[in-house]
């Protein structure tokens, strides 16, 4: 039987990810889809640490660390150089967390998306500034505890829709991905590799310490996020939305949030509010799905 993903590994053991880190799984799957002819740019994010301290690296591809807000611009620079130097076949990937994408890096992201630079931008989204110790970001969902949204004053604002923001740039390809659906993510990356211009992939990456969840629940949580409609899996190709993992009967959001300590303070009323917000956005999105 042919394995669903290539057996080749481009991420070595010895990396510094926490147990059950979604960002680690996301990278491993992503690298399988890209292979060796790929260059990464990393801003400040968990992966700054995960890769390993100087002089070690756990990745078998070249990697340029860059400042927090510069992922997309630095990647665009690398790509421009490769094109001029006759190495057009090499793929360039900006790889950033949610803080580096939704917040501080959104300007460079928007610039590169608008210019339709021929790069890949990956956001591994763990829904807070996890590397600095769990502070709220624009990606933190309604209801969540973080160290800057304490239980008495939990996050009251809705999660920013980075996907809609990127879609407003009318990029040729964008998709959401999940560490619980590696085949789906792999297929999307392989497809994106055949498309020139700006590609955006947004992966939900559960964070056991930040979500106050069990490390062995990470994949389960990622799957529940899809099954409840919290994080639907779809792709947008030239403006056409297609849901890649169908969820005809969505599970209650409670099943997802009850496994996470960051939501444990919520009252039944507040949980209903979470459900209502998830329903409302899901229904909005569902109308766009053409397949």
């Amino acid at each position: 039987m042919k394995p669903p993903l290539p057996v080749e590994e481009y991420m070595s053991p010895g990396h510094l990810a926490c147990q059950g880190c979604g960002a680690g799984i996301a990278m491993r799957t992503t690298l399988k889809a890209f292979g060796k002819d790929t260059i990464f740019t990393f801003p400040a994010c968990c992966w700054t640490v995960i890769d390993g301290p100087f002089p070690y690296s756990s990745l078998e591809v070249p990697l340029l660390h860059t400042a927090f807000e510069t992922t997309a611009a630095a990647a665009a620079g690398v790509k421009a150089a490769l094109d001029i130097l006759g190495q057009e076949q090499i793929k360039v990937v900006g790889w950033a967390g949610d803080g580096g994408t939704f917040d501080i890096g959104i300007q460079a992201l928007s610039g590169a998306a608008e210019r339709n630079d021929d790069i890949f931008y990956f956001c591994y989204d763990n829904e807070a500034y996890m590397n600095t110790g769990i502070q709220r970001s624009g990606a933190t969902p309604y209801g969540a505890w973080t160290t800057t949204t304490p239980v008495k004053h939990f996050k009251k604002e809705v999660k920013k829709s980075i996907d809609d923001i990127v879609a407003a740039h009318r990029v040729p390809y964008q998709a959401t991905g999940s560490v619980a659906y590696p085949e789906d993510l792999f297929k999307k990356i392989v497809k994106a590799k055949g498309i020139s211009g700006f590609k955006f992939l947004h992966i939900l990456a559960p964070c056991p310490p930040g979500w106050k969840a069990r490390p062995d629940d990470s994949v389960k949580l990622a799957r529940l996020a899809v099954q409840t409609g919290v994080f639907p899996l779809y792709e947008v190709e030239n403006g056409v939305y297609r849901q890649t993992i169908k969820t005809p009967s969505r599970k209650p959001v409670l099943e997802y949030i009850k496994l996470q300590g960051r939501f444990k303070h919520l009252t039944n009323e507040e949980i209903n509010e979470v459900q209502a917000r998830v329903d409302s956005y899901y229904q909005l999105l569902e109308k766009r799905f053409q397949d």
Partner: protein, 383 residues
């Protein structure tokens, strides 16, 4: 070929002759013509380069960092607020040891808004690790871009070519635009040993603990120390090939001068006019123009000022609560080596003209005093 061109276009021609491969820039007055002309040159395919029209100066430098890391010769241009916005990435480019060359048109910092010249923008970046060349003429601007790539790519550190807003950036002068063949013989293509390479993958800039970080900083300092003789050597070699030699300093009638005016940028030409005028009256004055501020030419400064009885520094900048920055640098070089008093004058901020009369006034003020009566003199300021 001689052409009458503005300072900004001298930068564009310099970058073109240096065969830059990636340009990333954002508009800001008074730099804009640098990249306008370069866009045309690239669009006309007279230069094989990618031009990334970024959404900010911060991204301009980020893109240059990416491009240079991948092995391309990268160029950008900015000024004032734009340079300040880049600040974080100036440290990054130098720390990453990338030989990026940037044109920086000196413009005063806001508020209040000003588009006119002073040096507080570039001097605020003094400690980032970038080499700084302060130019006096459009010819020097063009020539320095070419020399800078040569020097930067040998020591793997970045450089900024600094020129005064309007009095150089927008002033038209006759400039010899050298033949491409000759420039190619002077400046070989950029070949980067430490680039991002899929066949030899490495991680650049990763988390470094206290056991190694200091060594990275030591190597940066060592590189700028190595750059100093190289600047002199390459300036001389440039002279042999193009007929125009350059050095860290540019002395004028200094040898027998009792009083030496120390200036930078275009104020030097006014200073020299004044020196000639006063010399005709029998006054022994001279002018020392500082061309290279980083790496700082300690030995050259000490040598040129060894015989001076009075040193008068005109600073088109101010370190608030201290004094002029060039004066500070000169004093630090002379301490323990020379007992001549150093007078510190602040003039020409925010584009205020420095006239020959301004300089005569400064010299008259010093003429009356054996040593400075105050640490800092503000010239022609309304109090």
């Amino acid at each position: 070929m001689k052409k009458v061109i503005m300072g900004n276009h001298a930068l564009s021609h310099g970058a073109t002759l240096a065969r830059v491969q990636v340009i990333a820039a954002y508009p800001i007055t008074p730099q804009t013509q640098v990249v306008e002309l370069l866009s045309e040159i690239v669009a006309d395919q007279k230069l094989k380069a990618a031009f990334i029209k970024v959404e900010s100066e911060h991204s301009a430098m980020a893109a240059c960092i990416g491009a240079s890391s991948a092995g391309a010769r990268a160029f950008t241009a900015t000024s004032s607020q734009g340079l300040a916005l880049m600040h974080e990435l100036l440290h990054w480019a130098a720390g990453a040891r990338l030989p990026i060359v940037m044109a920086e048109v000196n413009r005063a910092m806001a508020p209040p808004w000003s588009i006119w010249s002073d040096q507080n923008d570039s001097l605020s970046q003094r400690d980032t690790g970038w080499m700084q060349f302060y130019c006096q003429s459009n010819q020097e601007v063009l020539d320095t871009v070419i020399q800078a790539y040569k020097i930067c790519e040998k020591v793997l550190m970045p450089a900024m070519i600094v020129l005064d807003a309007f009095s150089l950036s927008h002033t038209y002068e006759a400039v010899d635009i050298p033949d491409q063949e000759l420039v190619d013989r002077y400046l070989p293509p950029f070949s980067f040993k430490y680039k991002l390479d899929v066949n030899d993958p490495h991680t650049f800039g990763g988390l470094t603990k206290p056991d190694w970080y200091m060594e990275f900083r030591y190597k940066m300092h060592e590189a700028l120390e190595q750059a100093l003789p190289l600047i002199k050597e390459e300036g001389k070699r440039f002279g042999d090939m193009f007929g125009r030699a350059y050095d860290t300093l540019d002395p004028y009638r200094v040898d027998d001068a009792d009083t030496v005016l120390v200036t930078s940028g275009t104020a030097a030409s006014t200073a020299r006019y004044t020196v000639d005028k006063l010399r005709r009256k029998g006054k022994k004055v001279g002018n020392l123009r500082v061309r290279v501020l980083r790496p700082f030419p300690f030995a050259d400064i000490r040598r040129e000022l060894a015989n001076a009885k009075k040193i008068v520094v005109i600073d088109r900048n101010i370190s608030f609560g201290y004094h002029g920055i060039f004066a500070q640098e000169v004093k630090s070089a002379l301490y323990g080596h020379c007992s001549a008093p150093v007078f510190c004058f602040i003039a020409g901020l925010g584009g205020r003209d420095i006239f020959p009369e301004t300089i005569e006034g400064i010299l008259a003020e010093c003429g009356r005093a054996k040593k400075p009566k105050q640490d800092i003199y503000w010239v022609e300021v309304k109090k």
